[in-house]
């Protein structure tokens, strides 16, 4: 089937099987460099994208569901002030995700703080677990998200 959708603000179209995974199509048909797929069953969060404004594991999204929707990967944030807030928040915490998880963790942070620059702690704690990582401390990531939210608040004067 021909699937037209918006990717990082641009209209795209691909020919894909209706049951193909969005993650596969982004990686192999659209050559999105940041895309990774690890578990392929919705557990690890390596393949997170923002789909219709919500963060989701794209390996569980079939292409028939993508028709007419809007998808954002980390490439869609490049050069934006939104991304700078997050980078500053991470830097001020001394938080350095590895190359493997930097994209999903950044995108996840963007989704969380774009929805609410003062995320509720209990919500934050659940959401932050969306990217599986055994090498950095989870508390450190939480702190980095809080600092990114602070950056976003001060830039948008939501103090």
């Amino acid at each position: 089937m021909r699937v037209r959708f918006t990717l990082n603000g641009k209209a795209v179209q691909v020919d894909a099987e209706p049951e193909a995974r969005l993650s596969d199509v982004l990686m192999h048909h659209l050559e999105i460099a940041s895309m990774r797929q690890d578990c392929s069953e919705g557990r690890c969060g390596s393949c997170l994208v923002i789909f219709e404004g919500i963060i989701v594991s794209s390996c569980m999204i079939p292409m028939f569901r993508v028709l007419g929707t809007e998808v954002v990967t980390i490439e869609g944030l490049f050069g934006s002030r939104d991304l700078r807030d997050i980078e500053r928040g991470f830097q001020s915490t001394g938080f350095e995700p590895c190359r493997y998880c930097a994209a999903p963790k950044t995108l996840l942070t963007h989704a969380i703080i774009s929805e609410n620059t003062r995320p509720r702690e209990e919500e934050l704690e659940v959401q932050a677990q969306a990217v599986r990582c055994r090498c950095t401390s989870y508390q450190h990531f939480l702190e980095a998200i809080r600092n990114a939210a602070k950056q976003r608040r001060s830039r948008t004067r939501d103090i």
Binding site: G45, I54, V56, M60, V126
Partner: protein, 289 residues
Amino acid sequence: MPQNNAGHAPETSKRTSPRVYTPRSQSELLQLLRRHPGSRIYAGGTALSGLEDTGRLAIPATVVALYGVDDLRRIARTDRYLEIGANATIRAVSRVGSNVIPKTLYDCLPHIVPPGLRTIATLVGNVCVQGTTTTSVAPLIALGSSIEIRRVGGSRWITVQRFRSGEGAYLQPGEVVTRLRIPLSPWDAQVYRPSEDGRISFAALARRSKGGVDAVRIVIGTRLPEVIHNRELDAELTGRKLPLPDRDIRAAAERMRNTAQAHDPGFSSFDLYRIERLVSWFLRSLTRR
């Protein structure tokens, strides 16, 4: 023939692509289900989609997707109930907040699916997965929840307990679950405890009045489709004076252990021990409150 919703057993063909219908309204949804009685309902699709060895998602041959039906996203609250539409995601439900959602259900929400899927997986979809007791079922049964089932020209409400019990209450072709209704009765104690390995989920509620136990419900979810719920034990504990004597707590815990053993002879002695401990811990906590 009942519609079999076995979660990870999709009826797929590796060669033909699935036929997907995306209704925009409830009436269109019901019409489509009538016209395609063999179709499967696709809510979040997280239980329905298995993995094919070709790397594609294994979607059943004909699916009717709910995600375009906006009014099924509705979450409404009255004085007595919380109603959750079939399209409401687990994330949307948890955002209603712990001040509205009964604690035993609220505490279970983070355990239903991995966080990257909470934004698409639905609570009603969780109730509809057959073949195993999914995470939300024990708390929903303890709370006395019901579901609305609709088809062209009719609707009915049944309790989640009955829906899950297999007493002929499974969906008939052409039927869909449209709403989940959760009573907002006041409970003085509400707990939800999953075991780390996911083999057991424990939900318990109690209400006290005048120094005694006014009502108790203890429900345990396991890997089997049906929950463990000893209604006789609930009834016997009701009306008892607090504090409960230690020997009565031990006897109640042992009875639950025996019920569990009869329910699933495959339980390990460790599982049975955990069940016994959870029941006594809950009953003791009533005394301490």
